[in-house]
């Protein structure tokens, strides 16, 4: 049994890769080949689909928009979560437990429920169709997560570190930025990764809050699919390209992902 152990993850990974392979292989096929006859791999590989995406601004601006609001969201979420997580990990204060659970409940709010009110809210404050609107809306579920992860990492740092720094004459902001944050930089990396990930994959709110100027790539895909008929190859190419940023980010934090959740408190 122990000998065949490697089989389990291998079979699972193959299962994971199959649909991805199908998407990638389709992105190199012509529309004719996709619809015409069934082929396991591209018979006449073409880069046409990718060329279209990289030359047509309505396509590639989608990527720019997505990356813009995702980065903005990551920065806002982590920056706001850092002091809050510090408060939860170091101090006890009135209502801290309730506040923490309330923050977590926001992860439970179904995006579908909030889509319409969000649209009205952001229209009312004049942020509709801006990157900032999506970035702010995504903090709803990313901030609780970031606070949760960071709190776990911070609780792993002994309080003596804080005390030593004060004895050495550090002011709080200087201590926090110069000493504390570098100490938990792995935690900051993990929190940023999860914020990036959940903001990148979410579409419902992003689509609701944008029209043209800040439209995410994933939304561009659905629009194109319906307006100009089924250009499956083009769709597949765009889909393939949405996998790449995540894959790059995950490579950098691969050693910390598992720890990030393990250290968070329940």
């Amino acid at each position: 049994m122990t000998r065949a152990r490697w089989l389990v993850p291998t079979v699972y990974i193959l299962f994971l890769l199959l649909p991805i392979y199908w998407l990638v292989s389709m992105s190199f096929k012509t529309t004719n080949e996709i619809l015409g006859h069934f082929t396991l791999w591209p018979q006449n590989p073409t880069l046409e689909n990718y060329r279209t995406i990289f030359t047509d601004p309505s396509w590639y601006m989608g990527y720019v928009n997505s990356i813009t609001y995702v980065s903005l969201n990551t920065v806002i979420s982590v920056a706001a979560a850092l002091p809050a997580a510090y408060a939860f990990s170091r101090y006890r204060f009135l209502g801290d437990k309730h506040l923490f659970f309330w923050l977590l409940t926001n992860r439970m709010a179904p995006a579908a429920v909030f889509a319409l009110p969000f649209f009205q809210l952001y229209s009312a404050v004049g942020l509709f169709d801006t990157h900032l609107a999506v970035a702010l809306a995504h903090t709803l579920f990313n901030i609780p997560l970031a606070v949760w992860i960071l709190e776990g990492f911070m609780s792993g740092v002994p309080r003596q570190l804080d005390e030593t720094a004060y004895v050495d004459g550090y002011s709080f902001p200087r201590f926090f930025i110069r000493i504390f944050i570098p100490t938990i930089k792995a935690g900051v990396g993990v929190a940023a990764f999860f914020c990036f990930m959940f903001s990148w994959v979410e579409l419902l709110l992003a689509k609701t809050l944008t029209a043209v100027a800040a439209k995410p790539i994933a939304a561009t895909m659905t629009k194109t699919a319906s307006s100009s008929g089924y250009e499956l190859g083009l769709l597949a190419a765009a889909g393939t390209l949405t996998i790449i940023p995540g894959a790059i980010v995950i490579w950098f934090v691969r050693n910390h992902i598992a720890r990030g959740f393990a250290l968070g408190r329940v």
Partner: protein, 288 residues
Amino acid sequence: MNGKIVNQKAWFFVIPVLLLVSFNAIVPLMTVINYSVQETFGDNVFFWSGLTWFQEILRSERFHAALTRQAIFTGAILAIEVPLGVAIALAMPRKGIWVSVCLVLMALPLLIPWNVVGAMWNIFALPNIGLLGKGLNALGFDYNYTRQVGDAWFTLILMDVWHWTSLVVLLAYAGLVSIPDAYYQAARIDGASRWAVFRHIQLPKMRRVLTIAILLRFMDSFNIYTEPVVLTGGGPGNATTLLSIDLVKIALGQFDLGPAAAMSLIYFLIILALSWIFYAVMTRNEEQ
């Protein structure tokens, strides 16, 4: 217990988070509550309708049907993903470069935008041009998820297993690697069987992360919208119309804001209550 200092000034640290989350959570929630107790005949004229919508929703066949489908879906994916995720985590290598390779490859589905996941499976499972659909038909199955209810459910659940089992794997794996070697060594010396090691060492140590995994999977599967909409659009018929899909159909499709809002609240309360019960039970057991 961990000797935290009581300090009310800590509230200042929480203010930025509080402002951001309140802005996003409270105003929309108030809007939803507002709609849920009013009736409109268009032109932005609203009338107070009390709890009529709530009564109507709670009695409606349609809501019951959607809720049942939702419960079956969530139950099924939890029953598959949690044991499968644990089993895969147990079989993962503990050291060496294969760990990184496994983790990165397994995390891939988690990083794909949800509608791309739906689109990808939509194509992958098509009986005429998809690998899965074509493959199953070639093996002699009469498979067509756009027409047959059973096939639609099979595809939906398979897609969710594909999409989210890795999250359980990552968490369970994190729990497993945090077990010191001495536990395994002591168990070997005590002559423990493989099953005893799992039952008395690995499972208890994974308990905390599994709580997180089940909680996250429960909340997220109850909220699922984008992937099934892109995959099946809730069909064939209403066969795979889960709660969120139904809700959006009512709210945006028929523009019945009142019932949609009431339904949202009922829905939100169900998730909240179930999560809270689960959370309370798991943490109480922990304290024992």
